[in-house]
């Protein structure tokens, strides 16, 4: 894994998290680089969601470091801080506000203003339209309330929001879980384009087909540990499945993988 292209865009080292006496994360390490799609896979309860929440700042790690572009992030921080550090997130529950329209949802947390105070709605709607057009999304009017959209449309709006933020690191939590075949293919295309645009794309998924098709690297989590990171081109599906189930023992120390 030594072939560094400069510093990793996102790096996790020895991350541990406890909920009371329950240990959710034992030891998670990860190196994600710009221009790469990095899949995080694992069984239910392996710690995928907790890992995402620690990166975004919803949870704080009890031990270990989260580094963005080589800079260590404070363990106590809010979702807004993650934005400022250049991380945009597509949550599994999408985090859309149903009563707001598409344009407002896409700009939430980063609403454009004019004259210092007044909301620049024209700019907001134009930006939303441009991003949706780039992503070849058909959701009709950007003034449509998100509450009116289908599940697939909502997923795409959530991704479009992350794209609009134009951050160097994009985190996607189970982006295809609720999608049909065609919609999944579309999301895959978008991920490929983000990679081509030089973003570090980190994608938590249980869909191995999707991971093998679009990811460059895959990190396997098992029982709260990162048990191995592999280059997708060099690894068999069986090996990844073996790491997920524990049939193949993980790398002895995750620290040595890096």
């Amino acid at each position: 894994m030594a072939a560094d292209r400069a510093t990793p865009a996102l790096q996790l080292r020895g991350v541990k998290k406890f909920f009371g006496s329950v240990s959710a994360l034992e030891d998670v390490a990860l190196d994600a680089y710009a221009g790469e799609v990095h899949a995080i896979v694992g069984d239910n309860g392996a710690g995928k969601s907790t890992t995402i929440k620690i990166i975004t700042g919803i949870h704080s790690a009890d031990e270990g470091d989260v580094m963005v572009q080589g800079e260590r992030m404070a363990s106590r921080r809010s979702a807004a801080d993650a934005h400022e550090h250049g991380v945009s997130v597509v949550y599994q529950d999408l985090a859309l506000v149903e009563c707001l329209d598409i344009a407002h949802n896409m700009a939430l947390g980063n609403l454009p203003r004019k004259y210092g105070v007044i909301l620049d709605r024209r700019k907001m709607e134009r930006e939303a339209a441009v991003v949706l057009k780039e992503l070849k999304v058909r959701v009709g009017n950007v003034r449509t309330p998100v509450g009116l959209l289908s599940g697939g449309q909502r997923q795409v709006v959530a991704i479009a929001r992350a794209v609009r933020m134009d951050k160097p690191i994009i985190l996607l939590d189970e982006p295809t879980a609720a999608l049909g075949v065609q919609e999944t293919a579309h999301v895959g295309e978008i991920i490929d384009e983000l990679k081509a645009a030089g973003k570090a794309v980190i994608c938590v998924t249980h869909d191995l087909d999707f991971a093998f098709k679009h990811a460059d690297k895959v990190t396997v989590l098992r029982l709260g540990r990162s048990v191995g990171t592999r280059t997708v081109a060099d690894v068999s599906r069986d090996e990844v499945v073996g790491l997920i189930t524990g049939a193949i023992p993980g790398d002895t120390r995750t620290a040595e993988v890096a």
Binding site: T56, I58, S78, A79, A80, A82, H83, V89, Y91, D93, L94, A95, L96, V97, E98, C99, L100, H104, L108, G109, N110, L111, R113, V117, I118, L119, R121, R122, E125, R126, A129, V130, L132, K133, V137, R138, G140, N141, V142, R143, P145, G147, L148, L149, S150, R161
Partner: protein, 347 residues
């Protein structure tokens, strides 16, 4: 008011938006009518007109310009309080202390006025006290994790006690003439307090519809977790909402005192809290948060004041007033819920 209602739907494609992706709705007349008719404000405006026509048929006095102005004048209190209380409900909160803050600010400002403090400072003093109470509400709700309905209800009782203690139950009378002139006078036939309400309403409309803060308020009320996940600083917005709610309650109390020339210990109270929340809910603000508008709150406030007036002029016993208001409240919320089920796929 109709221009405000229809502004969003009437606007055609703007010149910059030549992208085919922004499929503009509302370009056909039928579509426009459908969208305007589907708004709660439209239904309410129709109810206002119907009540007005009925009242005009029962009483010749109703359409007298003095009477119409009186309806507006008595709706001012509900509306000014409703702006802050409604914005808070849109943001997912609730303030049951408003009626007691109303009295508290009125007493504070009046005590200062009768002690010869200059009137602008006295009024600011009353409002500052209200702001402090709002901030305390926020601390109790956010940091002590007391649910808003409990925290503000508790504050209501405590303030009611304070209001009675500091006055010994006696009204503060004999406010300076300059203040009474403001409260009772008019400019070009429009009562000053109606002008104040219009300014307050415009300010709140801009705040809700045309600023980041307003969008953040709707987002927090509509889906708090999603708003926070997207970087909306919930604690700051909540603080502003509770302070604004308290300050508008205080302002309404000061306006009322200026109008009647004294601060009454019995003015405000639980009935004021409930009437304001009722006006806000009738005006289309959702108790679940996220939805509602200042123009809706305005119509709700005018409607309550109008019903009051129409029943008196029609010689209908006052007991019917609360029956009618209760029925309208339940009906308005039920209709709103039906409409929402049709609009949104979930909920």
């Amino acid at each position: 008011m109709t221009t405000l209602l229809s502004r969003r739907t009437r606007r055609g494609p703007s010149p910059e938006q030549k992208e085919p992706v922004t499929v503009e709705e509302g370009t056909s007349a039928a579509e426009w009518v459908r969208r305007v008719m589907s708004r709660q404000e439209t239904t309410l405006a129709i109810v206002v007109v119907v009540v007005g026509v009925l009242a005009a048929m029962k009483s010749d006095l109703f359409l007298d310009s003095d009477n119409l102005l009186e309806i507006l004048r008595s709706s001012v209190i509900y509306f000014v309080m409703g702006c802050g209380a409604g914005l808070l409900i849109i943001g997912g909160g609730l303030d049951f202390a408003a009626g007691a803050i109303f009295t508290l600010s009125a007493l504070m400002a009046s005590k200062m006025l009768v002690s010869s403090v200059p009137w602008p400072i006295a009024i600011l003093g009353g409002l500052a006290l209200a702001a402090l109470v709002g901030a305390i509400n926020h601390v109790v709700i956010t940091y002590w994790h007391v649910p808003p309905i409990i925290a503000t209800l508790g504050m209501f009782y405590m303030l009611t006690g304070v209001d009675n203690l500091v006055t010994g139950g006696n009204d503060v009378i004999g406010l300076p003439q300059v203040v009474q002139d403001i409260g009772q006078g008019s400019i070009l036939g429009v009562p000053n307090i109606v002008l104040i309400a219009i300014v307050v309403g415009l300010w709140f409309w801009v705040l809700l519809e045309r600023t980041r803060f307003g969008v953040n308020v709707r987002a927090l009320g509509g889906n708090r977790a999603a708003a926070v996940a997207n970087g909306v600083r919930a604690t700051r917005v909540d603080l502003a909402l509770y302070v604004l709610s308290a300050v508008t309650a205080g302002l309404a109390g000061v306006i009322y005192s200026a109008r009647v020339g004294s601060a009454q210990v019995t003015a405000g109270g639980s009935s004021t809290t409930l009437i304001v929340v009722t006006a806000v809910l009738i005006g289309g603000v959702s108790l679940l948060g996220g939805l509602g508008s200042i123009q809706g709150i305005a119509i709700g406030a005018v409607l309550l004041s109008l019903i009051d007036n129409a029943l008196v002029l029609s010689n209908i016993p006052p007991q019917y007033n609360t029956i009618v208001v209760g029925a309208i409240l339940v009906g308005a919320v039920a209709i709103d819920h039906l409409r929402r089920e049709r609009i949104f796929r979930k909920r």
